[in-house]
């Protein structure tokens, strides 16, 4: 058996353990997120408090590995899985999800900017729209009742599953002519494609429709505490015509700005608990480091389908939880 197959097998087992952790935790935690405050106050979890931190650390470590291998941000896996199977209220999970996505973006940002893969000229106008919209999204999200957030979150995650399963990507989209707006803003660049040993000139088009879509993306990022790489990349790549590498890198950097504005709303609204945030940030970041090392030795395609399966499961869980069918 090759090293790649062994690693894929290990990751499959890790994912099963992740679900088991989560389901067992869900059963053992006696506190119900939908219960009234006083009722919750009087109940105690049967798992000691410190064990939750360790379970969270272990779960997010696996999520960090899977996120890198599946080519998604940590936040999109974190919110539905942790929100669905841990006893934390969805407010705190979304607050933590934003900080998890923010920390990942902040860690990756400097390297991507220095190598000129993330383009500041492309990111800045987009970020302005998305970050302003994310403030609105965060305020709406925190004002909605938990069941409605879960229904909307579940539906969104299932939509993301469809996008991930069907959307095509284009390494070098054809952009016959840069549009007037992108020319006025000077959004263009050159980067070295190392796999081809070639310098690639790029420009974009359909800038205005792209910017309008980032209003929707920003609102969703703020409302659900998701990093929005799943939406950023298709819009930058397929609609606006940026090369795939530039789109992925700029999207990752973009999260550091979009998620910042939403994170402040959660922080100022008291929806951030260090006990949830810190183990999650550490777990995801350590998992991402390990994930990058594994990436070179395994087949990302198999893992991509594993991640899509996990997301589908988590999305369904959130939807059924919101509908009161699986509480």
């Amino acid at each position: 058996m090759t090293m790649g197959k062994q690693l894929t097998k290990f990751l499959l087992v890790a994912a099963v353990f992740l679900i088991l952790f989560a389901v067992v935790g869900d059963v053992l935690a006696s506190a119900e997120p939908s219960a009234a405050p006083q009722e919750v106050f009087e109940k105690e979890s049967s798992i000691p408090w410190w064990a939750w931190s360790l379970i969270l650390l272990a779960s997010t470590f696996i999520l960090g590995i899977l996120a890198v291998l599946g080519g998604v941000g940590g936040g999109v896996l974190f919110v539905p899985l942790i929100g669905g199977f841990f006893p934390f209220h969805i407010d705190f999970v979304r607050g933590a999800g934003l900080i998890v996505a923010l920390a990942g973006a902040l860690a990756a940002g400097p390297g991507l900017l220095k190598r000129n893969l993330a383009s500041l000229r492309l990111a800045l106008p987009v970020a302005l729209i998305a970050s302003a919209a994310a403030i609105g999204g965060a305020m709406i999200g925190l004002a909605l009742p938990a069941y409605l957030v879960n229904i909307l979150l579940g539906s969104t995650i299932l939509g993301i599953v469809v996008i991930m399963a069907t959307a095509k990507k284009s390494d070098f989209p054809v952009v016959p002519k840069a549009d007037n707006l992108s020319q006025a803003l000077g959004i263009m660049g050159i980067y070295t494609e190392q796999s081809m040993g070639k310098d690639i000139d790029w420009k974009i088009h359909r800038t205005l429709p792209g910017l309008i879509l980032f209003i929707v993306i920003g609102v969703m990022a703020g409302m659900f505490g998701l990093g929005a790489g799943w939406a950023n990349v298709p819009v930058l790549n397929l609609l606006m015509g940026a090369p795939l590498k530039i789109s992925v890198a700029t999207s990752k950097f973009l999260l550091s700005i979009t998620d910042t504005s939403a994170a402040w709303i959660y922080l100022n609204s008291g929806a951030v608990l260090p006990m949830i945030v810190v183990p999650s940030v550490v777990g995801i970041m350590l998992g991402s480091i390990v994930g990058v090392k594994i990436l070179a030795r395994t087949k990302p395609k198999a893992i991509k389908w594993l991640v899509i399966g996990l997301l589908a499961f988590a999305g369904l869980r959130a939807l059924l939880k919101g509908l009161g069918i699986w509480t």
Binding site: P110, L142, W264, S269, G270, V277
Partner: protein, 143 residues
């Protein structure tokens, strides 16, 4: 000449490099602060607003109920609780969340020197958006 121009544009711009530098330093400081303050909280080195062992009683309630029940601080009021282990963690989190504002503010002079008017406006507007988000004026729930 053409080659020289290509080499110039293939490199990250001056403002992009500065942005990356500040982001890198701030991110490391912020993450170290978050981890150190969490250790302080978990080990009980400082008194806590909510001790770690009591957190499971509250983490399943909505944030507005949590604030209401414990009279927990919202907005920037947490600053007066930084002597508590749990709110000490907010210093590092706020640094991470505030880093982007610093980065934008730092590149504005470069953009001004280059007379890059559209991006000067965009950067200033972004700082305004993020400062508004950070100000605590816009929050949901609370008192």
């Amino acid at each position: 000449m053409a080659k020289e121009k290509t080499e110039k544009t293939i490199q990250a711009s001056e403002e992009q490099k500065l942005y990356a530098k500040i982001l890198n330093i701030g991110m490391i400081i912020g993450l170290v602060m978050v981890i150190m303050s969490f250790i302080v909280y978990m080990l009980g080195i400082l008194p806590s607003f909510v001790p770690p062992q009591d957190i499971p009683k509250y983490w399943s309630m909505a944030s507005k109920d949590f604030i209401h029940m414990l009279d927990a601080p919202t907005g920037w009021a947490w600053l007066s609780f930084v002597n508590k282990g749990d709110y000490l963690n907010f210093v590092g989190i706020a640094l991470l969340a505030g880093l982007t504002i610093l980065c934008y503010a730092a590149i504005v002079p470069i953009l001004m020197r280059k007379k890059d008017t559209p991006y000067i406006i965009i950067a200033i507007m972004e700082v305004a958006v993020l400062v508004l988000a950070a100000s605590g004026i816009l929050k949901s729930g609370g008192h």
